[in-house]
């Protein structure tokens, strides 16, 4: 063993608070330290994930209070897979924004990296924790750093987008705390494993109220329709890498929370059908909204919302195959959507309105960025041989195996809509004449490197899906086995 799960929370949090102090010594440290921290955590998470896949989950007790009294962190195949994914995306976002596109002064850069570290701390904490109140605290950490990052640019409408996000976020946190207290008043415990083992004793009325409050609170963060009003604005007004961080890190953590509540904590079987219904609604409404957008980042934001809807549908099948499809989709969405945000942010770099029409003929000026954007667009639609094909295929087979042909048909129809609006953008990039007053900007070296890493990963997963499916299979088996989770946590004695 080289480390323990608590380091995933402690180290980035410490780094976040040290960044302003280190900046006083040498300004460049503000940029270097987050990268070093994330690289260390990446190595640590891969090591721990390998360990966990072989010898079972690691349950870590914090401050010597054994569960159910103290807070515990659970690094299992499922949570470890998501943590590794998040840290990897954090690393890519760091690499991309090591040198900013714009000339940003030292002060804003310091705040940017500080908030990014806090965002990663919060998101990783949500996934690792085994205590519902602790999860609430981490959700708040993620939320507050998200508000700050959304308002990064002072010039644009970012303060409004941030305020909107903050309002919905605070209402969400109130609902979440209320749901936690309803459970606590019935069971007298905050430990997830113990709640899961006792939930059958709770009066169904309280159980349902609490679950509805949980889903509506977390649905705000996870961009579920009709609670996603903040998302398009926040994505459109925040800097490109922050959009990638939201799509890859924050939303993944919130979906994890919803799934943990439905699969492990509550034992309400109707919740699965509910997931399919809200997932389908989110998917259809977001994709039809995406086709009407004239701003590139808003279109990507709606597409991101739609993909999360599809993830919920796949989870809603309730079978191990469905969970496998959903996790595969989450992985692909994190990689591909980040690539689209990062490259799309260069395509509309110098335009004032960030309109889609302004990407016309960009391939002559930004050949690599345009190529990577096209690669991402093909991959997210699900064309073979890219990564997105395999995940969409597994969603469809899972739907067929659960005899949900209606869902299968709708997913295929929505895919056509998706194809239309992505190909429209790619068409403009390659076959339209460049507009008069558009002034493209060459990507910085580190940004190019970050995008190429993501692009290469799409191809690797596309051609050799076996490199990753083994891990996802184990992760989905881990999520489905509720009894094992309860036993693993509650058998710890200090």
């Amino acid at each position: 063993m080289v480390g323990t799960p608590v380091l995933f929370v402690a180290i980035p949090l410490l780094a976040a608070f040290l960044i302003p102090l280190l900046g006083m010594i040498w300004k460049e440290l503000v940029r270097i330290v987050p990268g070093l921290v994330l690289m260390y955590l990446m190595v640590l998470s891969i090591n721990l994930l390998n360990h966990v896949l072989v010898s079972g989950p690691i349950v870590e007790v914090i401050a010597g209070w054994a569960p159910p009294f103290g807070i515990n962190l659970v690094f299992s195949a499922f949570s470890g897979f998501l943590v590794t994914l998040m840290i990897f995306l954090g690393l890519v976002v760091w690499l991309y924004s090591y040198r900013f596109k714009r000339n940003v002064g030292f002060e804003p850069a310091k705040k940017y990296f500080l908030l990014l570290m806090m965002l990663i701390t919060g998101a990783v904490g949500i996934v690792l924790t085994g205590d519902i109140f602790n999860m609430f605290v981490f959700i708040e950490i993620t939320g507050i750093s998200g508000y700050g990052l959304t308002a990064f640019y002072t010039g644009r409408d970012s303060a409004e987008a941030s305020f909107k996000y903050l309002m919905l976020g605070s209402i969400a946190s109130t609902l979440l705390l209320l749901a936690i207290m309803i459970l606590y008043s019935q069971l007298g415990t905050l430990n997830m494993a113990e709640i899961a083992s006792k939930i059958h004793t709770v009066n169904p009325t309280y159980k349902v109220i609490s679950l509805i409050l949980f889903i509506s609170a977390l649905g705000i963060e996870a961009e579920i329709f009709p609670l996603n009003g903040w998302a398009p604005d926040a994505y459109a007004e925040a800097p490109g890498p922050v959009g990638a961080a939201f799509a890859g890190i924050v939303v993944k953590a919130s979906v994890y929370a919803i799934i943990r509540y439905i699969f492990t904590i509550f034992d309400i079987s109707g919740a699965y059908s509910f997931l399919i219904i809200i997932g389908m609604m989110t998917l259809i409404i977001a994709e039809t909204a995406a086709i009407r957008q004239d701003k590139l980042k808003r279109m990507l934001a709606y597409s991101s919302i739609g993909q999360m809807g599809l993830v919920l549908v796949a989870f809603g099948f309730g079978t191990e195959e469905g969970v496998f499809a959903a996790l595969f989709l989450m992985l692909n969405h994190a990689i591909i959507k980040s690539l689209l945000f990062l490259s799309g942010s260069y395509l509309v770099y110098n335009s004032k309105d960030k309109k889609i029409v302004e990407v016309n003929g960009m391939h002559k000026f930004l050949p690599i960025t345009s190529f990577l954007f096209a690669l991402g667009a093909f991959a997210i639609v699900g064309l073979p041989p890219f990564a997105g094909f395999w995940s969409k295929l597994s969603v469809l087979t899972a739907a067929a195996d659960s005899h949900m042909l209606f869902v299968l048909a709708l997913v295929l129809i929505v895919s056509v809509i998706e194809l239309v609006y992505y190909l429209r953008v790619v068409n403009r990039i390659y076959f339209f004449k460049k507009g008069e007053n558009v002034d493209p900007k060459k990507p910085t070296f580190n940004a190019l490197l970050a995008m190429i890493v993501l692009g290469a990963l799409i191809l690797v997963i596309g051609f050799y899906p076996d490199v990753i499916t083994g891990v996802i299979h184990k992760a989905s088996a881990d999520l489905m086995d509720k009894t094992k989770y309860i036993n693993d946590v509650l058998s710890i004695k200090q």
Binding site: E140, A159, F163, K164, M167, I171, L177, M181, L190
Partner: protein, 125 residues
């Protein structure tokens, strides 16, 4: 105190707390001034904190401090300490959110010269 009266009082406290939360929610959703929206959010959080503390109260319970006075005293009932710890955390978080919200309000005011939501909102909802 009579047991049924205590129960009644308990429901009274819960009801008040939920009423405070609803007043806050109303303020946050309906008011036109950004400052009033922020105040509404804070009021909603206060109502929730009140509810949490009330949930942990036991009839005749004393402060949850394990001390000489508690051991020698006649009253052996403590209130539940967990909700109180949770409320402390929630208050700190609420403070942080309010601070961020107010700083955003200041920025919006500098940018637009008004706090009226109708005049600011040019982002589609």
């Amino acid at each position: 105190m009579d047991s049924s009266l205590f129960q009644l009082l308990n429901y009274g406290v819960y009801g008040t707390a939920i009423l405070v939360m609803l007043i806050g929610l109303y303020g946050a959703l309906v008011k036109k001034s950004l400052l009033k929206v922020v105040i509404g959010l804070s009021v909603m959080e206060s109502g929730l904190n009140l509810l949490i503390v009330a949930l942990g109260y036991l009839k005749g319970g004393t402060a949850p401090i394990f001390s000489e006075g508690f051991l020698n005293g006649s009253n052996k009932i403590m209130v539940d300490p967990v909700p109180q710890a949770l409320v402390l955390t929630a208050i700190v978080i609420g403070f942080g959110v309010t601070a961020v919200a107010l700083s955003l309000v200041i920025r919006l005011y500098r940018h637009h010269g008004t706090l009226n939501i109708d005049e600011i909102r040019n982002l589609k909802w």
